[in-house]
């Protein structure tokens, strides 16, 4: 679908937060740092950048995160060193303003599909990744670095079992 076909979709409110899955190549556990490449093109980003709206699966933060993990586990392979990065929608769009591109976030709830769980929290960042830009290009890298600058939280994708659960 083209970007214009998402133009009529409900927008994600600027006050909301969203999370993005970032594989281990984008997260260095030895320094605790995330790279802007977490917001660059992935194979699954067909029409835009996939994100999940915080607080849709549950109003409880821990349960919301656990639900996000469960839903995503049915839709993709979760990397053992991957994390989720969280950012505010308004801050993210402001960080990208210098590129003067039409970038917005819209709802894109996903229906159950075979073994893949429904994901009512799914949303898309339309306008990213930049059209015609290769992964890791200068423009993509700067955009990623700007977004990285407004990341407000990170949490692990794989949660180790507590000792009491063993």
């Amino acid at each position: 679908m083209s970007a214009s076909s998402y133009a009529d979709r409900p927008r994600v409110d600027r006050h909301e937060n969203v999370t993005r899955y970032a594989g281990g190549s984008h997260y260095d556990a030895t320094t605790g740092e995330v790279n802007g490449s977490a917001f660059d093109r992935e194979a699954k980003d067909a029409d835009g950048l996939s994100v999940n709206r915080v607080g849709v699966l549950s109003r409880d933060k821990d349960e919301d995160r656990a639900s996000t993990r469960r839903v995503l586990a049915t839709r993709r392979t979760l990397g053992r060193t991957a994390i989720f990065v969280e950012l505010n929608v308004g801050a993210a769009l402001e960080a990208l303003a210098e590129f003067e591109e039409d970038i917005f976030m819209c709802h894109d709830a996903l229906e159950k599909e075979g073994d893949k769980a429904a994901n009512p929290a799914h949303a898309l960042v339309i306008g990213l990744p930049f059209k015609g830009e290769a992964v890791g290009s200068l423009k993509s890298e700067l955009a990623g670095d700007r977004l990285r600058g407004v990341v407000c939280d990170t949490f692990p994708v794989i949660v180790p079992l507590a000792a009491s659960d063993a």
Binding site: T30, E33, N35, V135
Partner: protein, 211 residues
Amino acid sequence: MATNSNSYLREDQTGVDRIGKIFRPAQRFDHQLMRTRLTEEDFAERGLRVVAMSDVLEMENFQSSQSAFVSPPSRASQWLELTPAGEQNAVRPVAHAWMSIVEGRIAELRDIAVEEDLPFDEESAQAAVRFLRRLPRARQPSTFLVGGNIRLVWRNQDGEQIGLQFRGADKVQFVYLEREGGDLDSTMGLTSAAKVMRAITSPSMKRILRG
């Protein structure tokens, strides 16, 4: 590359030319050829450069620091000198305590690339390690894999950063974010490792390296 160096008589020596004229010290010199496998970029990374004698004579500091063995005007000669940045920074590599951690992280990225079917460019990885081994005092960078290339990032508490993506053996794509007043200004491009080394070890940027 080859450089020519002039050797001069010591003060206690004299010589005689072909027509019997006696030379005083510092007036007779023999050309000696010095060869090296180092490239100009190797020199540049260490804050050195090769300059022609005519340029040396123009330098202010040459006038005030003339050696007893140098006597202008001289035949064509090349000098190995410190660059201005080299004089200021005396760029000298150090053995970093965190080097094994970064090499371990690069090995982990190689494994992740296999697990997730991502590209991994060995030339990029080697170039990144080579660069770090030549770096003077710095904190440990964060290390990532981007489109098959290794990217090193230093960020400080102010959000400023040095981001270097190693594209093959010698090209580095850089994204610098530096705070100017309230804004984080960006500088970015693609250049050689030697030029990046000079830039990030300059007085204005090494604070980001060191934290």
